[in-house]
């Protein structure tokens, strides 16, 4: 960013610059034809009619859900895994704003955006699953079931979505050029971060606590009175791993937008890898405490027991060792690989708890219908498109020059002001 000039926009020039990224509409539309977009368009082409089918015909024709298996892919993956993978916002916010790990500041905005969009699309996925999604505000306003862990989840997801929006506001207002609003939003940062950390602690663990009510249905290796702790710890690990994973993707896809001067992303990746290694080790140990506490050893040598061992060794211990090794050897690429294994592992865990392990002891087992898969893929695609749309326009990966805290930008701004002053008649 050389030749910095503070821009003054008219409405028209703002639309062209900020919405169409400085291209004419023709150029913009032409630029949309990329392999990724074609695949996305194809997915939406199938996904939109399937969604219409789901809402017009009901859950029965569109899903394989049944009276015995009332929860399926949409709860197991879209909601359970979705919330865990969106934990990066709260983890990085806490690390940077509360624990003062300032060098990780460049990771906060992408993490908060991922968190915000993640939760938003969790709610979208939930709406597909709910029998009467238009009654979503009922637990808040109409009839409050205070004995329900799910009530806590509902309230917290709603409040946390709002909190994450507040945390996202500085970027939004920078983009819109609303300096005064931005100032207020920034002032809310520390408060919002604390509030977000409380809400996340509670609802991440509450998602695990939901299954405390299924002792007769959930496989004994996954059922544990420690479920809330398992879910919280693994969500923190998932959040960190997603920040690593997403930073890798962003550098590949949006490399030209990243303008943090003097930030060594490999170093940040290694630091995050260290945190993930510690978290995974604690989680691994805790999983075995769970097995020992309830004396479930006899179940290990059964088909589902083997699957449990795969989850715990291949997707928890292995990435833990990979992270450790990578940090010792300063191998950022290996940290990135380990983060992918971890993310897959957490997804597998959530599906194991909510789908595979649930109702393990009855004959009527569930497997998602093709339409359930299509809806899930459509929601992910829409999420990615939204993420890309925002990142391409708002200061998420890059710093907005007007609000930059990097020295070079400040110097540049001062130089321009001085020039303007000298040149003024």
């Amino acid at each position: 960013m050389t030749g910095y000039i503070e821009k003054k926009y008219t409405f028209r020039s703002w639309v062209i610059e900020q919405l169409f990224m400085g291209k004419t509409i023709k150029e913009y539309l032409k630029g949309l034809i990329t392999p990724f977009n074609l695949v996305a368009a194809l997915i939406l082409l199938v996904g939109v009619p399937v969604s219409v089918y789901r809402f017009s015909q009901g859950l029965g024709p569109s899903t394989n859900l049944s009276d015995n298996n009332p929860w399926g892919l949409w709860i197991g993956f879209d909601v359970m895994a979705g919330v865990a993978l969106a934990a990066g916002g709260f983890v990085m916010g806490t690390a940077v704003y509360l624990f003062g790990l300032k060098e990780y500041h460049p990771t906060v905005r992408p993490a908060v955006l991922t968190g915000f969009l993640g939760y938003f699309f969790v709610v979208v996925g939930l709406c597909f699953d709910l029998g009467r999604p238009w009654r979503l505000p009922y637990p808040m306003l109409v009839s409050i079931g205070v004995t329900s862990v799910l009530l806590l989840v509902g309230w917290h997801v709603a409040l946390y979505l709002t909190t994450q929006f507040v945390e996202f506001c500085p970027a939004l207002f920078e983009w819109l050029g609303l300096k005064n609003f931005r100032k207020w939003a920034v002032r809310l940062t520390v408060g919002a971060t604390i509030f977000g950390a409380i809400l996340s602690t509670l609802h991440q663990s509450a998602l695990g606590a939901l299954f405390l009510l299924t002792p007769g249905k959930l496989h004994p290796l996954w059922y544990s009175s420690f479920l809330p702790v398992f879910f919280l710890i693994s969500a923190i690990i998932a959040g960190i791993s997603m920040v690593i994973f997403e930073s890798m993707l962003s550098h590949r896809v949006f490399g030209d937008r990243i303008n943090h001067q003097g930030v060594d992303f490999d170093k940040l990746t290694l630091g995050l890898g260290k945190a993930a290694a510690i978290g995974l080790f604690a989680y691994f140990a805790l999983k075995w405490v769970g097995v020992a506490h309830d004396n479930r050893w006899e179940f290990l040598n059964t088909p589902l027991g083997h699957w449990f061992l795969v989850e715990v060794f291949i997707f928890v211990l292995l990435p833990c060792l990979l992270f450790t090794w990578a940090v010792r050897k300063s191998n950022a690429a290996l940290v990135r690989f380990a983060s992918i294994v971890t993310v897959i592992g957490i997804i597998i865990n959530r599906i194991n708890v909510a789908v595979v392990g649930l109702n393990w002891n009855i004959e009527d087992r569930y497997f998602p219908s093709w339409m359930e898969f299509i809806v899930t893929i459509t929601i992910i695609t829409t999420g990615l498109l939204t993420f890309r749309w925002i990142v391409n326009r708002m200061p998420i990966l890059n710093e907005h020059p007007d609000y930059s805290e990097t020295d070079q930008h400040v110097l540049e701004r001062e130089r321009v002001t001085a020039e303007q002053f000298l040149n003024s008649p």
Partner: protein, 308 residues
């Protein structure tokens, strides 16, 4: 569940600011409430049931359910074990008698009407209610269709109207609460039974009756009342001539009411809500102070350097 345990949990949520509850409820204690003493129930005597399915037909009629796929007179229905569904609130299943040469055993299945129901504990809109009279009822007017009640129910009872896109409801036996019990009547299935296999009455009386039958005819009955203690006790009780685990009953559900299972977690919520902000603000202040000190040290160092 109009009980003080619920009120206790209410007070917790009130403290957490998630609900608008009057202060008077906060003072209530945490003692366990084991149910209204005059609540009703049904005793199902499995030694008497002959599998005529009159109860199914009566249930179908009073609840205005669609006609069944297999007519009520058709015995082929027993070829496989059925469960309740959105059009069938009660089913009779046939199990081979584990005693050699014994007649097959018929087991009627319906909502157990737990004393502390898992469904009511799970429901985030209070759609389920353990009424004072005993039945567990469902309010379709507030249900959002999350189906957590179905996941939570240890007896696989609640069913869902999956095929209704616009107003799907959870469906289950209400012990004829609206139609009969609230008007002083008895459940349709109990009334329809030609064998008097079911007895409706106060739960406490039914337990006495069950004991009496077992003690008077020890060669007919096994010494167990299913539902007396299971998951904290149920309003529907069974006595049998053969072990319950041989005829489709879950024996591993324990005696803890399901509502207790999440109580510890919910109890920890206000602690986190109050202590977590205090802790995090502490961390934040500590971080700021440390940074402030580091900066002062640096500038002191610079001043010293300048002086030299």
């Amino acid at each position: 569940m109009e009980i003080s345990r619920r009120k206790f949990l209410k007070s917790i949520t009130a403290a957490s600011g998630a609900s608008l509850v009057s202060k008077s409820q906060i003072a209530q204690g945490a003692e366990r409430f084991t149910g209204w003493s005059d609540r009703f129930g049904v005793l199902s005597d499995l030694t008497r049931c002959v599998g005529c399915r009159s109860c199914e037909a009566a249930c179908n009629e009073i609840n205005k359910l669609p006609p069944p796929k297999i007519p009520f007179e058709d015995q082929s229905v027993f070829e496989k074990i059925r469960r309740t569904d959105a059009q069938t609130y009660t089913v009779v299943n046939r199990y081979p008698n584990p005693k050699p040469g014994g007649e097959p055993i018929f087991v009627k299945k319906q909502c157990m009407h737990c004393d502390e129901p898992a469904c009511a504990s799970a429901c985030l809109v209070k759609a389920f209610k353990k009424t004072r009279e005993g039945p567990v009822t469902y309010n379709k007017g507030v249900c959002i269709g999350c189906r957590y009640c179905m996941t939570a129910c240890p007896f696989y009872v609640p069913a869902y109207e999956y095929d209704d896109p616009f107003s799907p409801e959870v469906k289950k036996c209400s012990m004829c609460y609206d139609n009969r019990i609230s008007k002083g009547g008895i459940p349709a299935c109990v009334e329809a039974c030609p064998m008097e296999a079911m007895t409706f009455g106060k739960r406490s009386d039914l337990i006495k009756l069950a004991r009496k039958r077992i003690i008077e005819q020890p060669d007919i009955y096994i010494y167990e009342i299913y539902g007396e203690h299971e998951v904290g006790g149920t309003s529907w009780l069974y006595i049998s001539g053969v072990p319950f685990e041989k005829i489709g009953f879950r024996m591993d559900l324990g005696t803890t009411p399901y509502a207790e299972l999440t109580r510890g977690f919910l109890g920890a919520v206000p602690l986190v809500l109050i202590l977590w902000p205090a802790f995090l603000i502490g961390v934040y202040m500590f971080t700021k102070r440390r940074q402030g000190m580091a900066e002062t040290e640096e500038s002191n160092f610079e001043i010293e350097e300048d002086q030299q």
